[in-house]
């Protein structure tokens, strides 16, 4: 495929046009150097295809319909990956900040989901879980290691290997592909057949770990039926926040594709396993909404943490109903 300057006329900057045309002719520019062109392509259309060397590959292969555009879609196909990047990136930034903050995660009886179960000896008083402390207090570069760092890897692994999130980040971050029938910018593709992506096959173990965390967070939600002195029989906005968080996480886990496979999907004869068939049917109903549960539970965790942080930092008061 020849991509001349005429195809880049949609670009406003003359310098950028020249750069993109040059990177195309050179063929093997590093990805980061082509980033401006990639960005422009997100808004590209038939008259302004991306200036990356794609000759002889993909939709530009020999024998296929001769077209210069990477896509002929006229709808806003770029909007969904754009929003996904925005939301996931915001969550990553917030979660990283909170994981390293090592403070404002406990306000009796509320504990942040980012720090539960608190398993290190430097956890705030009364914030440790019933299983005790497995880790001591460690220092790296003069800073105390946050208790959150010992546990967040597990829920992170669950979401990273989740079949829905894989779709979301493969499309939006890695642009493989950015949207259906929109040519991806990569010249090679091996899918999930090699390291590190072959590790996605370990999703079921991350799912099991996620279930353990759900149990802890449910216990936290039940424990929130106490007041600030630890007396039972009270209920606050914090109770509702932690309950909602635990509910969303259970729905997210129960609707998981691995859960569906585990409870009955792997069977060949449902008729011989009526209970597992019933379970599979229920999980299948939830599985239809897995994407929605994935997002709701993500927001739920972040908002629950934010609420506990604000209460712990005395920015707001945890109002009690009774």
């Amino acid at each position: 495929m020849k991509t001349g300057k005429g195809n880049l006329r949609g670009f406003k900057s003359h310098a950028l046009r020249q750069f993109c045309a040059k990177s195309h002719s050179c063929g093997r520019f590093h990805l980061y150097k082509r980033a401006p062109c990639l960005a422009l392509n997100v808004l590209g259309h038939e008259t302004s295809p991306m200036a990356i060397d794609t000759s002889g590959n993909g939709v530009f292969s020999e024998g296929r319909a001769k077209l210069t555009a990477r896509t002929l879609r006229t709808d806003k196909w770029w909007l969904q990956p754009f929003i996904t990047v925005l939301v996931l990136f915001s969550f990553i930034v917030y979660a990283t900040f909170r994981a390293f903050e090592n403070g404002k995660y406990f306000a009796q009886p509320l504990i942040s989901p980012f720090y539960s179960p608190c398993l290190a000896s430097n956890c705030v008083k009364d914030s440790t879980s019933f299983v005790g402390t497995f880790f001591g207090t460690y220092h790296v570069l003069g800073m105390t290691v946050s208790p959150s760092l010992f546990i967040l890897i597990f829920p992170l692994a669950f979401r990273m290997t989740c079949y829905y999130y894989r779709k979301a980040y493969y499309r939006s971050f890695w642009m493989s592909p950015p949207a259906c029938a929109v040519a991806e910018p990569h010249t090679k593709y091996t899918g999930e057949t090699r390291a590190p992506l072959i590790l996605q096959n370990g999703h079921r173990y991350a799912f099991y770990a996620g279930l353990v965390f759900n149990v802890f967070l449910t216990i936290d939600a039940v424990g929130a039926f106490r007041n600030e002195k630890g007396q039972w029989g009270h209920m606050s906005i914090g109770t509702l926040v932690l309950l909602a968080n635990a509910t969303f996480l259970w729905l997210y886990s129960a609707s998981c594709h691995t859960c569906r496979h585990t409870v009955g999907g792997r069977l060949r004869n449902f008729s011989q396993h009526p209970i597992r068939y019933k379970l599979w049917t229920w999980v299948s109903i939830l599985n239809h909404k897995h994407q929605q549960f994935a997002w709701v539970s993500l927001f739920g965790v972040a908002l629950a943490d934010l609420y506990v942080r604000q209460v712990s930092g005395h920015s707001i008061r945890n109002l009690y109903f009774f």
Partner: protein, 253 residues
């Protein structure tokens, strides 16, 4: 005639071609295939287009309309704005034969590579009995009309010609899932072959196949992901492997 449509139709062959502008009248309720036929009858007598049932059941009139893989007979003209130019091209994942007709032989080669159902040796033909709940999962996959829109939109082969050797595509993953979920199929290593011979691991489950399926088969959720999980059972899960060795479980391998 209700409106005047502006079209851009790709015309050419495997060597060369391009978009040609056409203006044509359209009636209320017409689909894109009707419009193509009108263009064929009035302006481009030699325009090549593959079609048959005009009812969304034969899967012949697959093409790309405004960049989206669709059946022309199921795409209403009224779905597009009054001033919108409708661009019609052949499927971009396959070689062109002429105009809107592509060479789909890749798919038939892949179909032949899928090993057929193997009947239990101890069951004579006609003696097989299965309950509805054992076959209803597979029945969803039998709705496939082989329009190959899923194959066209799958970026593994659409964007990487070299992967066509090792990747069967979503249409054949539902065939593999159908056979693997079959209560009587006795071929034991279908999961391994799905991964090693048909390239299941290449799929990164971005769900485009499901989005374009005119039969609304949930290809990714109901076929590809369950197959990936079944492959994990036999290839990547040490505990399942151990369990299968110790208990010699039926149906795992």
């Amino acid at each position: 005639m209700a409106r005047t449509l502006k079209l851009r139709i790709w015309r050419g062959n495997d060597k060369d071609g391009g978009l040609q502008d056409v203006t044509v009248e359209a009636n209320n309720g017409e689909v894109v295939l009707d419009i193509i036929h009108r263009v064929q009858a009035t302006q481009m007598g030699d325009l090549a287009v593959r079609w048959n049932c005009k009812a969304g059941k034969c899967g012949s009139c697959s093409m790309e309309i405004n960049g989206k893989p669709r059946l022309a007979c199921m795409t209403q003209v009224s779905a597009y704005g009054e001033d919108e130019v409708i661009t019609i091209t052949p499927l971009r994942a396959f070689p062109v034969i002429k105009d809107l007709v592509t060479d789909l032989s890749f798919n038939y080669k892949k179909a032949m590579e899928v090993r057929a159902y193997e009947h239990p040796a101890d069951l004579a033909p006609g003696e097989a009995r299965m309950q509805q709940i054992d076959v209803e999962r597979s029945q969803e996959f039998r709705k496939c009309i082989e329009c190959f829109l899923c194959q066209d939109t799958c970026h593994v082969i659409r964007d990487h010609e070299e992967n066509k050797k090792s990747f069967a595509g979503p249409r054949f993953f539902i065939r593999l899932a159908e056979l693997d979920m079959h209560p009587l199929d006795t071929l034991r290593n279908r999961k391994q072959s799905a991964q090693e011979e048909h390239g299941l691991g290449m799929c990164n489950i971005t769900k485009c196949c499901t989005e374009v399926c005119p039969e609304h088969i949930r290809i990714t959720d109901n076929a590809i992901i369950p197959m990936k999980e079944r492959v994990v059972d036999v290839k990547y899960d040490p505990l399942r492997w151990l369990g299968s060795v110790i208990r010699k479980r039926e149906g795992i391998l």
